[in-house]
Symmetry: C2
Subunit: 395 residues, 2 copies
């Protein structure tokens, strides 16, 4: 079985059979625990049978949604729509479906308004202040809401995403939801801590809060304004000479795409993205490479380095030789990052620290991780990498 | 090897050899990563050699502290002081040493002032408003700061703690630190995310911010006011008839201690403790049981149910029979918990939700989990358990 086919269909499978995993995660432990209690304890917890029944209903409605998504996405991606022909989903992939539902709430429901205003709102505003139109790239675009917000303002916008979970779900939202509030999901049933009232845990979220297809109405060019590129950011947009690893390949199609994208964007907008790198230098160089001279990089996000604690070893090219490296280990501080960005050919036009926001959180939970995020607008100037001969022939 | 001896000495061993683990966690990945970078990348990250050298120094100072703690604690606990005679520490135990250093910062350094004021401050104030003296129990007392705060105000106070990591470290702080700021630790070097300046990650914390031994000076009774009981809360203070599991035993010494503690306290103060239960009914019944009629329970904490996600099965007694249960599954909401507390024989005198605080966090980090904690003062009235014949012969 081809690797790409396997990765795609095992994701489809995880969506399709998500109810089984959900049942194990949510319903079963509560059921076992309740049954093991004494008669006296069960009397005290007289609300438990109702809770179990409510959870069962929520799981059923989630199941309709994730199953439908899997079948529609299979059709859209041109693979068999029979689940029997798909690879099996792993535990990790189920957990990603769970977080995809939370991401749906963040990006496409009214519950996510506060998070979106603090993040997307500030990014779009910063771009509007500087450019009335132009080409925008959104790496790590998740479920596409920030792409949509730019397109709505008339910018030619390309989203880039590497996760199949996000790609399948964003395709479903962007292309297959002509009506607002057409779908119901229960994204909060997976967490029983930090809940004030049970009703909040089993409350529905309807998506989308507005239909992305609305922007195409009455605008003939709108369809041309939006595009999505599936794949690794550094692989699709990076310069030559990055440390070649699984994230950056010698693949011919990617190489051609890279060539077309050299200096091709007026804006790169990164939101909760930069710290997903295991080598952030690669990200910064890639952003620099695909921006035109004078183009701007708008960033908002935390420094939650995703690979911190990941001690898996990888092979990378170092000055032409293959050497062993490790996923973690390059977790820069804010001040170091800022210095490195300047060294790599950017000038900060604006910079602010400590913008508080949550991410994919239940806004009604009694506890959440609060990020003091960094915001900046940086302009591309001549970078160190431009001076090296090997980069003269970019792309 | 006796189980208790093994548990105690493997904890000692984890403290004693913590430097090895720390080196693997903190220094090594950064070193591997840096060495794998290209010459150009190393030039850009010109601060990395200094960082590695700083981390090495911090690890060395932490090592002096944890080694000394282990040797002194071995002496205090009456076990051989030669590490060769100890059981080996596990990965999990090393991680607990790491969090013990953070806990030290929370409870016994000036970095923890804000967290302590929001939590211990409010608890002590609520007790002082109601009782000028009396017997206070602090279950899950960690490193003993709340116990100390009560003793300082003249209350006879007993701390209870089950974790050897906490017991060893609290003994060291309470009995072996005659001077303020006598020890230096680096609790923040283990986390490289959410750091604004590198200097903050490698900054020292001095402990204790004040010497607990100061309260004994000029007060002859002070030594009698403070006591510590090592063991499970429900095992040491609970009524008969709890679902017997590993946390509640038929042990003779525990049974005698339970008898002495029935109705023995004027105050039970729980801080970030209640949600450590896998059966919170047991905790509530135990609090009720060891309070005198009219005694008060003061609580401040979140609903971060510690066993959520722990699907390990356990055996419990259910109406006299042994049945299979599970650690997770009984994660109550705030409103459910409040209703259950009333059913089990408490009247709320005061109740407030949404008191924001962090826990064992670096106050200078660019991101922290923020809890909307619950606070209450509840008075013991006749409870359901008092009516059952089996509980007439409590203890």
């Amino acid at each position: 079985m081809d690797e790409e086919y396997k990765a795609l269909t095992s994701t489809l499978h995880a969506f399709y059979t998500f109810d089984r995993w959900s049942y194990q995660q949510v319903y079963k432990p509560k059921s076992i625990k309740y049954k093991s209690l004494s008669t006296e304890e069960q009397e005290i917890l007289d609300f438990y049978p109702q809770l179990l029944s409510d959870l069962e209903q929520c799981l059923g409605i989630n199941d309709s949604f994730t199953k439908q998504l899997a079948l529609v996405a299979a059709e859209d991606w041109g693979v068999p729509t029979s689940p029997d022909e798909w690879a099996k989903g792993t535990q990790q992939e189920y957990d990603k479906v769970r977080s995809t539902l939370l991401q749906l709430s963040r990006e496409w429901s009214s519950d996510g308004v506060a998070e979106r205003e603090a993040t997307y709102g500030r990014i779009v505003e910063a771009v509007e202040k500087r450019l009335k139109n132009g080409r925008v790239l959104v790496p790590g675009c998740g479920l596409g809401r920030l792409v949509y917000e730019f397109v709505r303002k008339g910018y030619w916008t390309q989203g880039n995403e590497v996760s199949y979970h996000m790609l399948l779900a964003s395709g479903y939202v962007l292309n297959r939801m002509p009506m607002a509030h057409s779908h119901t999901v229960f994204p909060y049933i997976f967490k029983s801590s930090h809940v004030s009232r049970r009703l909040l845990q089993v409350r529905p979220v309807t998506v989308p809060d507005e239909s992305p297809m609305g922007i195409f109405e009455g605008r003939e060019d709108a369809g041309e304004l939006m595009s999505m590129a599936a794949g690794s950011f550094v692989d699709l947009y990076g310069p030559r000479g990055l440390a070649v690893s699984d994230a950056y390949t010698e693949d011919a199609a990617a190489s051609e795409f890279r060539g077309e994208n050299a200096g091709a964007f007026d804006v790169v907008a990164t939101c909760f993205f930069l710290d997903t790198a295991h080598n952030v230098l690669d990200y910064i160089k890639t952003i620099h490479h695909c921006l035109r001279e004078g183009g701007i990089w708008v960033n908002l996000g935390p420094l939650l380095w995703h690979y911190e604690g990941d001690s898996n070893t990888i092979e990378v090219k170092r000055d032409g030789e293959t050497v062993n490296s490790i996923m973690e280990g390059l977790e820069l501080t804010r001040d170091e990052l800022v210095a490195v960005i300047e060294k790599l050919g950017f000038e900060f036009e604006e910079r602010e620290s400590g913008i508080k926001t949550t991410y994919s959180s239940d806004p009604k939970a009694l506890g959440n991780f609060v990020y003091d995020t960094e915001f900046w607008v940086a302009k591309k100037v001549s970078g160190k990498d431009d001076k090296k001969p090997s980069d003269q022939a970019l792309g």
